[in-house]
Symmetry: D2
Subunit: 201 residues, 4 copies
């Protein structure tokens, strides 16, 4: 359609050199051994909540990049509702980290947030060059999204305390690889200096 | 996330060698000269409604491939609601063609339904080889989606009476190109033989 | 590999806001009805030769985007050699338009120069925003490349006299669509003002 | 072009459910700390040479997926020649593993063999479902190629003794992740049973 072709942004869209990306935090955690991940993810979610609040204060776009979990007929809002049901293992995390008005969301069909999704285009529209990647699992969807972001030239910040994996070894080794191969900054979220990240290059 | 990685399908997903794709039918038609398109699209939408009913009777998957119209924070359901408001130019078409329970939907950020969307993966999961492309506009989003489908090896059916363009010339010439370059079948929708299309090759 | 990851450019690479793209000009023309295309392509190739010379004088990058014609084991240089053999229908065009030292080339496996090729990345490295698309056939590979370029935000110049199709109707209709849908400039090549295109925006 | 559109395969192309992929083995190794990688890669290359010979005996396609190292104007054959010059650090590996007539090659512009390359299409043409990934570095280009292959549904064999990284820790951790996250078979190359891999499913 003509109007679509122009790809005009929502008037509410502001550009920003940095964006905060939350990966698979709206998650029922219905898979084998999910308790191990939950144990790591619960404390992580508290710190990510604080980081998200800091990002909001600085008008940094918040982007939920979330699996569609093979449900091609549902949208993100119904997924959030599903995760907020009683008895859902991932409920406490979804409750704490559920999106607010004005947040962006991208549904991904596979591990990487870039694979078969419009994430790259949204980031181009927002003129974003630095991604703060958070969520779970560190060694799977966070890592694969980081790989794809690196190949596309994004600068990466992956705060070690705002992502979680099933095992500490998976978490640690992935962070090491992110530093070594992709020059990611993996320092703690409390040391992220939004004013510095937002300053003109 | 592990469970996401498996890309497990919804248990409700059935495979099908053919799928019906409705392009940009949920559309406020808020752009210059949209009345010209509406005039062509109104009678088209009646025929597409009948074709969709025939597809449903044959358990052919119905896939809405719809522009996000630059609204990165909304989902398809809120887009449908917006198009059903009074005074929206595209309302009669949206009213007639709005999706039902069990239909699939893919939001696309640009013209082609394949560009930066999971459409290709959904079709692989459904094991679909033949696409019936319908909707609007024939020479823009339908044509660009057809181009991408052809490069990916899909067989194309583009019933001339189930898509519409601003001008008859644009419509006709595009159909000719679809036939000549992509060997698309552009005969009328009433001649689509679902049983033949669904028969094992 | 580490060094590959950096994607360092060849020291000979200069950035340029505009690039000249030659599509499928190195072409044996071994397909049914190729004579019809050759008849249009021969005079076109003379004008494209002149346009290429003008581009060179202005240090505009010359990019050959050429089909691999299903030969996954050969490279562009052997393809050029093949097209320069006696008795090859496309020889006069290949002879006239064969690349020179310093020209870029991209082998494409299907119609669009962007589909499953590194063209987008090369253009990002060159910081190119405007593409002058030329070659053949206007309504197939030139058009599909233009579609993909438009969705990626490139400004398009498609000089009517530097591309060719089997029929004049296909050629004309495609140029009209390029103008109407993609705001392409389709004026004659002799009116391309490189100094204006190269001027800082 | 019409003939290109058909994507007809070379008559020499045979389909095969399994393919052997050699990643970045034609490599000058001109980067900091390359000696560490060379030390691991030299013995690896002997084993890979034997595996390649076994693949050839079973008519398994051999696919070189090699970085273009930022040289957008050269082709694979000139890259091979460059790596065979005296004083090139990677020469012994290139000498041992250089392609033969009938091998396929894909030039990749970044780490993953699938990113902006026609690899996926070549594998579809060859009807390949299982990839034996080899080469270097295990934790960079082999891993990122494996990630992309896994998201596309390929079954993975990554023989531990036919890939190499700068450090043993990087190598080992990556293999663990490949097993755990992507269910890759990482057993030694001598245990690869081509007849079993080639048997109809």
């Amino acid at each position: 359609m003509p109007s679509s072709s122009t790809g005009v942004c929502d008037p509410a869209d502001l550009t920003s050199p940095v964006a905060l990306v939350l990966i698979d935090v709206i998650n029922s955690l219905e898979f084998p051994n999910a308790e191990a991940l939950l144990k790591q993810a619960l404390p992580m979610s508290l710190r990510l909540q604080a980081l998200r609040a800091a990002a909001r204060r600085h008008d940094v776009p918040i982007i939920y990049v979330n699996d569609n979990f093979g449900r091609w007929r549902s949208d993100f809002r119904s997924q959030i509702d599903d995760c907020l049901q009683p008895d859902v293992l991932g409920r406490p995390i979804a409750e704490r980290l559920k999106p607010e008005e004005g947040d962006y969301f991208i549904l991904k069909p596979m591990h990487s947030g870039f694979y078969l999704t419009p994430l790259e285009l949204l980031l181009a529209r927002l003129e974003t060059k630095t991604l703060i990647l958070t969520g779970m699992a560190t060694n799977i969807c966070v890592f694969l999204t980081a790989n794809d972001a690196h190949m596309r030239g994004f600068r990466l910040v992956v705060p070690a305390d705002c992502c979680a994996a099933e095992s500490e070894a998976d978490h640690q080794f992935t962070l090491e690889q992110l530093e070594k191969v992709m020059q990611a900054d993996t320092g703690p979220s409390t040391e992220i200096d939004f004013e510095k990240l937002l300053a003109p290059a």
